[in-house]
Each structure stands twice: as structure tokens, then as C-alpha cells.
């Protein structure tokens, strides 16, 4: 994983935060809070609940700042904390219901309605197709695609986040691209896009 400037900033902020620097903590929160909200929402469709979970992850980070190590990737560390937190707390709150099994959970992607409304017809056709294909992707393929493109993180970071090895991430991404391309060609008779791996 190449260390980009962004990652360097993260690590600097993390180190400062560990020393009790409030500005650095605030900077990390501003940078990641919304991204983490969106990720959590993929597992549990309850914005308030997910917000509480993300908040709690930051509370724990701040409380335990002195004891925390410096992660390879701050973003992957936070994503994976939120992932675990959402699942655990959802189980705790709904102890009468079944626990979300990460292996079984649908990684939900729904049609973005705002988007569909605003767009002109051709764009909405494209939108529908993308939506349909994403829906049809197996959930773990969908999750790697989401992490790779929406969260814009590296394969190593995806591996850390999902707690699987890097090779599995590559395999999942390969299958996802393949499935996406095949489905796209199948359902588009007019427009053909090339997906670059």
C-alpha cells in the first residue's frame, strides 16, 4: 500500500490525537464521520442507530487514545470498527431477533430515489441498469465494490476492513468485475461501456 499524502495526514492526526490534541481528533471526525455513516447504513437501515454507533466508535477512540496503536490505515481501522459495532449493537438491541450474521447479511444497495427523479431519461436508464446489476451482485462482491469505489480505499485496506486476506479481496473484486461486465453487456443493447480492472 503506497502511503499517499492523505494517509500521512491521517497518521499525523492520529499521533497528535493520541497525545490529546483535540483539533486532530476533530479533524479525523470531520473527515470520516459521514463516510462511516454511509458504510454503517449498508448493514442496518436506521440512520439514528448508525449515527449512535459511529459516535460510540469515536467516543472509544478518544477514551482509549493513549492505549491505541497507530494503525496502518486510519480509515480501514475506523471502517472495520464501525462494521463490528453496528453488528454487535444491533444484536444487543434486538436480542429477541437473530443476530446479523456478517456472512449472511445482505449488503443492501437500494435505488437512490433522488437521483432517479432528477435525471433525464437516458441517464435514468443507465441508473436503473447500474442499480439492477449492483442488486444482483452477491453481497460480498457488492461490499468490495462499495469499499473500493465509494470509500475509495486500497485492497489492503479492504482486507483489513472486512477482516479477510488481500488475496480474497482480489478474488472478490475480479469476480465482481466479471459479473458486472457480463450483466452490463447482457442488459444493454445500445450502450456498451468498458470496465477497466
Amino acid at each position: 500500500m503506497g502511503t499517499t499524502n492523505l494517509n500521512k495526514n491521517d497518521l499525523q492526526n492520529w499521533v497528535l490525537m493520541k497525545e490529546g490534541n483535540e483539533g486532530a481528533f476533530n479533524a479525523l471526525m470531520r473527515k470520516y464521520f459521514n463516510q462511516l455513516l454511509n458504510y454503517g447504513y449498508k448493514f442496518v437501515k436506521d440512520e439514528d442507530f448508525v449515527k449512535d454507533c459511529v459516535q460510540e466508535v469515536f467516543i472509544e477512540v478518544w477514551k482509549r487514545r493513549e492505549k491505541l496503536s497507530v494503525p496502518d490505515s486510519v480509515k480501514a481501522y475506523l471502517l472495520s470498527s464501525v462494521r463490528k459495532k453496528v453488528v454487535r449493537e444491533n444484536f444487543r438491541q434486538n436480542s429477541d431477533k437473530e443476530e446479523i450474521d456478517l456472512e449472511k447479511t445482505d449488503f443492501l444497495v437500494e435505488l437512490s430515489s433522488e437521483w432517479a427523479l432528477i435525471q433525464e431519461e437516458t441517464e435514468s436508464q443507465i441508473n436503473d441498469k447500474i442499480n439492477q446489476i449492483l442488486q444482483e451482485l452477491p453481497k460480498r462482491q457488492r461490499e468490495v465494490i462499495y469499499l473500493q469505489y465509494y470509500q475509495n480505499i486500497s485492497r489492503d485496506e479492504i482486507a483489513q476492513t472486512m477482516d479477510i486476506n488481500a488475496q480474497s479481496v482480489s478474488n472478490l473484486l475480479q469476480s465482481a468485475f466479471k459479473t458486472f461486465r457480463e450483466k452490463w453487456v447482457r442488459i444493454s443493447t445500445i450502450l456498451i461501456y468498458f470496465w477497466i480492472c
Binding site: 481528533f25 454511509n38 447504513y41 467516543i59 437521483w115 447500474i130
Partner: protein, 352 residues
Amino acid sequence: LENKELSVESLLKDESFRSWVIDQNAEAAIYWNQKATENEDFRKNITFAKSFLLNLQEKTTNISDNEINRISQEIIQQNEESKLRFWKNPVFRVAASVAFLACLGYFSYTFINKNQGSQIELATTSNQKNILKENQTNEIENVVLEDGSVVTLYPQSSIEYPSHFDAKSREVYLSGKAFFDIKRNPEQPFWVHTKKLSTQVLGTSFLVNAVKENTKVEVKTGKVSVYLHDDVKQEFKNQKAGVVLLPNQQVTLENDENRLVKTIVEQPLQVVELPKENFIFDEVPLKNVLKTIEKAYGLSITFDENKIENCFLTANLGAESLYEKLDLICKITHSSYEVVDAQIIVYSKGCN
């Protein structure tokens, strides 16, 4: 970004492109909308990449930077003050946080000393040796109870509790003002007794507030149930005798009448922090406006749906308090409202 690099893949990784789609950055929007008109391939790739990201995003779950700043300040302060989870952080509903304010006037100061009767009562119910903590300093003090619940005691306040809680209930006696962070345990309900009121913790987190002669219990989030102290003595824990309080509701004790009156707190706060945009209404049916407010404040609003059928509202109510919002809405839609039994009732003559 070079033109030749305008592939879907490179767009998806481009910071400016991402800030347009994900953060709705206005500058980036101008740039990319312009770019899309340059040639057909650009337009297709931009359309595809944008749609792809939005479909992955699925829904804008973003909250404002201001709110993030507020939360971060809260976390920092909370941690410094006492490592307590404050009521604004109803995070996992394992702990019930109570702020309990009981200014009982002149008598309260001397209550613990003079009113031996109540102390004995508590002692006999728990059959345990009681511990009395008085805060005579000018700073708040933390008291950790046996069950892990934490009581933050304000200056000039005192709390009495058994060294070991009864198996069936946890009961403490408070004089003055205190903040409770209570470990939830339905098997062993938590009771806070003051001279006149007894409050039972029913779950999650909440703020209870009683001031001056009119003892008052105020709930921010969560749920408590409040009883007249005398009722609790007579019909111990008879559910019928109590008043259940939900967020933004309060109960006051009318001294002369010796009864509990349930109303809405003076400054209701949003229970569900909705984004400000949700309060920008453009020709929105009044019914939907009221539903939005109902959701945000967790208060019940009653109205005649048929009457307000033709009422529409165009207004920006993002900054106003609940009552300011209601005043404005009523002014615009020629209606009126009143608060009855912690409910808001909107009266309308209808709109043409």
C-alpha cells in the same frame, strides 16, 4: 485530470469528481457539468461514474459539519468531565443516564438532618446499612454505586444509598441535584426518591429536572416514570399512580394541589436531529409539515386532517424553536394551537 484519462475508473478515483458527486461541491459541479458537454464519450463516462457512485451511496446519510463539530466537542467534554455518558449520547441504551435536580427549597437543606423518618424508611426497605454522601465542595463529585451506576453529585447536594442493593430494586434518596448514569437492569429497577417525588428509571437515557418550589421532572430522551412520594409509600410501586414521561415532556408538582401535571418542557429539543433542510418547506401540505415536527420532537400533534387538507406551507423553519415554528405555521395557515396534557393540538378553519 487529462482528457484522455477520463475513463470511468479514473473518474471514480478523482477527488474533484468525488467531491462533486458525494459532497455536492458547487465548484466541482460547474467543472464537471462543463466537462460533460465537451464530448459524447466524456458525457457517457461522467454519467456512468456519477450514477455508479450514487447507487453505491444509495442515500445521503451525511450530517452537517456543524453537527460533527458539536458531537466531537461533546465527546471531548464528556470525557473530561467525568467519563460519563451524558444524556445526549443515548448510545447503546445499556446505561440510563439521569440528571436529577431537586431544589427543595429551605426544607431540603435540612432535610437529611431533620427528616429522620424518611431515612429510616429507606433503611428498613433495604435492610442494609446506608451510606450518606454529601457534597460540600464547590465542584461536582462522582459517587460510584455497587452496581456500577455513577452518580454525579452537584454542590450542596447529598445522596443516601445502601451499601448493598436489595435484590428486587435499587433505591437511592436524593436531596439537591444530581446526574445519574444508571446501568440498566430490568430485574432490579432503579428508583430515585426525593422528598416529594419518586422517579423510576424505565430505560435508555433521560434528564430529570426539578427546580424551586415547583418540583419538576424533565425528560430529554428515554423514559422515566414519576410518582408522588406519598403514593409510592402507600401503594408501593403501583404503576397506576405514576406518570410516564417521554422525551420533551415534563411533570411539575403543583404544591397546593399535590398532584402531578404533565406538560411539554419549556425549550423542547429535537429528539431526532433532522437536517435543517428537512425544515425548508416549499408548498408542502400542512399535514406533512406537522408530521415532520412530530417526528423531530417526539411529541404528539393532533389535528383534523380534513380541515387542513388544502393548507400548504412555504417556509424555512430550520432555525426556530418548536414554539416559534408552531407560531409561524399557525400565522401562515390561519390556525391556532394549544398544549394539552403534553400534546399539541392544532385548530384550523381550513384554507382556500
